[in-house]
Symmetry: C2
């Protein structure tokens, strides 16, 4: 037999434990069920392809925007060495992509390497908690901080308020002209007052394409500017995403991981009533990506659906769990609680460190079987053991494996999930790209903060409070 | 009118939006339903009280263990100034309590204040990811690190393997006798080989009471030793928990927040079919407590229940969401997706910082309504707006408010949730204190790592793999 050397560059999908043969007909899929539904997968693929060709949705094109990638790298090069902190001011889709990349490539806080101008840290101000913002500012040196406000609408209350504070902090410490040189704005080209603000103050600005929403924007300037400033290899991220994009257009379920996993997840969700999906990475560096995925899946696929007959609520609740850690926190529920979940393990094929456990025996059985083995083996074994124990309790689960955890594979993984989500949206016959459900809360916030033009919502809120006043429980 | 000065020391519970009057009969509770179920609450209280009097469960006694608290403080004092990092090696209940306290009182990484021997950082090694452990060790100076391995069983595979690595790292850099002085073990008094190891190496050791399980152990040495070493005020934590304990034994639903919230959560879960509970703190510092709660609720209340008639799966899936951040990530699903959730907001009454937004107007409407206001107002408004928008979509929700976010209130909050969980366990007629569902996974792990005595599980795992080999999907 000829040994073929396979390059370590792929994402594999193992759906075996979604099968009825493993978890029973009530909770798993039969080959027949999958075969019967294949046309839905190919319809989703061709329908989505048509939308993309009409330019409705831009994310599939992003990995190929080499001009933008070059511009971002050139900007990062031009400021390199002048800062030790990149401070992103953004929330939701304007924050999670940068975090997924940074956590994925440099690891989660608090165990990143020491920060310096050669290895700047990334601080993401994605909340309006006053103590959080206060501590973050205290931890940064304005003379060594680059600020990146990110808002597609240019009007997000949380981002505007924190940016006003950070802008003032920079001005007070550096003066106006120096402060302006330390800000790079990411926003829409033709809408929103953040853009006007940037023009007025002559700030470096990168634009977000109109046809790319926040949760699909990791490969626009939204994710790439912070990543490049933090010194991450954005070219490799985009190359992995580009190769994945090629695979995602293939009309072949065995090669198109996004389409196959979309089909199986859609079936197990809708036919087997799994209302929760647990995204279960076994790698601390994928924790950011799991939170990024949690937004992608929830906002894209949680919708009020109206058809001719009725109005109803659609959605599968995503949960982020971390292996092996959450075996000691959630797996009791996962194995013995209601069988209402599907589990997606995210595995790393080849670890860059082995985590060698010392060879010396201690004389204690609870320790000595581990001696001379490695953490990389242990974490894989823990995942396999958990998958087996869930399967034997008839809990459907599947596994995505990245051959390595590097920029190329991370870019590929994120792009794969975006396609998967778009495909499931088509299968569900919903719009995966809007978010009408958050409007009312935003309007109440504007009204309660006294923004002009929201009197109607102020009255509605007051009527709600008046009703509350009469209620006793 | 006479102004009465109320001390800022309490946790308030507002159940209004759980009411049928606010969210409709299908999703909310009527006064009659609550009145009819009150006997179940008082039975749960008296039943649990009897168990505690028989010494079955120890957590209600913990805040009153002043001798232990003194011993821990004395130990922390004796080593003070000699280290800048406390390295906990523990997983699940051996990690989450310390994190809830540290995050709650000093804030989440990466925005804690600079670390030093006067303000030591807490690094929690709660996984076996080799890259995570490698980076963590690189970030620590062995001459300035105190290591705290925590395992009640003294045999947890993840903790033993990482401890072997950390122990070796200390020995290699400091030599045996110095290394021994830098370790404080937390384990059971009379069981487990970690205890024997500690005796052999003459290590400082603190014991975990037999009748306190991991997820209820934050006020044993498990949570208090790391907290005290990190310089947190463990006396204040225990005082808050002690006052809460007093309230939790009151046979009065209006004063006993734990009992009232247990009753309403049990009713809304079981009668209104809310299979998911979203723990939704509006404060970055409560993010650790939300993850701690997620274990408490999942492991305690996710169980196979057997009664005379049948065997079935019980459990409500807890989710941690962070306000206002997750409004831009999850609220689209929460408002428009399936009405299968109950939301528990966790609010802070009085913030220690206001987060003043600069007064100067920019000339842009999207910014200027915020000018001169504060983040502390904005984050409250965001929470109120979100609660209103969920209520108007008939999504039941309630709010816990801590008057302040300090050690006293944090101790009270954690103790309140432990009582609440114990009470709900009684109402469900399940054992809230065991975790049989994780045993099989542990045994598979031992078997696959080659530990002696697990051949039976090795065969079972191999049979499972053999079945998988024949399955195609």
């Amino acid at each position: 037999m000829v040994a073929v050397k396979t390059p370590l560059m792929a994402i594999h999908f193992d759906p075996t434990n979604l099968s009825a043969a493993m978890v029973g007909d009530k909770h798993g899929l039969t080959q027949q069920e999958v075969a019967d539904s294949q046309p839905a997968a190919f319809e989703a693929l061709s329908g989505f392809k048509q939308s993309v060709e009409k330019d409705d949705y831009g994310f599939p094109h992003l990995p190929f925007k080499t001009k933008l990638i070059k511009e971002i790298k050139a900007y990062a090069k031009s400021v390199a060495g002048k800062y030790d902190t990149v401070c992103v001011v953004g929330i939701g889709g304007s924050a999670l992509g940068a975090w997924a990349l940074d956590c994925g490539l440099r690891g989660p806080h608090p165990v990143q390497k020491a920060f310096s101008t050669k290895n700047p840290r990334l601080v993401i101000l994605d909340n309006v908690d006053p103590g959080f913002i206060h501590s973050a500012l205290e931890s940064m040196n304005p003379a060594k901080t680059l600020v990146v406000p990110i808002a597609k609408s240019g009007a997000t209350a949380e981002t505007m308020s924190v940016f006003l504070i950070v802008h003032d902090w920079l001005h007070a410490k550096l003066g106006g002209s120096k402060a302006a040189g330390r800000i790079a704005v990411v926003t829409s080209e033709n809408t929103g007052e953040l853009k006007e603000f940037a023009v007025k103050y002559k700030l470096v600005t990168f634009h977000i394409p109109k046809n790319v929403g926040g949760r699909f924007s990791v490969l626009t300037a939204v994710g790439l500017v912070p990543a490049a400033l933090a010194g991450l290899d954005i070219s490799a991220v985009c190359k992995g995403a580009a190769e994945m994009t090629r695979l995602c257009w293939l009309e072949n379920l065995e090669e198109n991981v996004a389409l196959k996993s979309a089909l199986l997840h859609w079936l197990i969700w809708t036919k087997k009533k799994k209302s929760i999906q647990v995204a279960f990475p076994y790698a601390n560096r994928l924790w950011g990506a799991a939170f990024w995925f949690r937004q992608l899946w929830a906002e894209s696929l949680g919708k009020v659906k109206k058809d001719k007959k009725r109005v109803f609520n659609v959605g599968q609740t995503p949960i982020a769990a971390l292996g092996a850690t959450d075996q000691h926190s959630q797996v009791q529920l996962y194995r013995e609680g209601p069988n209402d979940k599907v589990y997606s393990f995210w595995a790393v094929g080849k670890w860059s460190e082995s985590g060698k456990i010392p060879k010396a025996k201690t004389g204690y059985a609870s320790f000595d079987y581990l001696a001379g083995q490695s953490l990389s083996k242990l974490i894989d074994v823990e995942r396999l053991a958990t998958a087996a124990s869930l399967t034997l309790a008839q809990r459907p689960n599947c596994t995505f494996t990245l051959d390595k955890l590097d920029a190329w594979h991370l870019g590929a993984l994120l792009q794969m999930f975006e396609f998967q989500t778009a495909f499931v949206g088509r299968m569900l016959e919903i719009d995966a790209f809007d978010q009408p459900g958050v409007e009312l809360g935003k309007k109440f916030t504007f009204a309660l903060m006294g923004r002009e033009g929201y009197d109607e919502y102020k009255s509605e809120y007051e009527a709600y409070e008046a009703r509350r006043a009469g209620v006793k429980l």
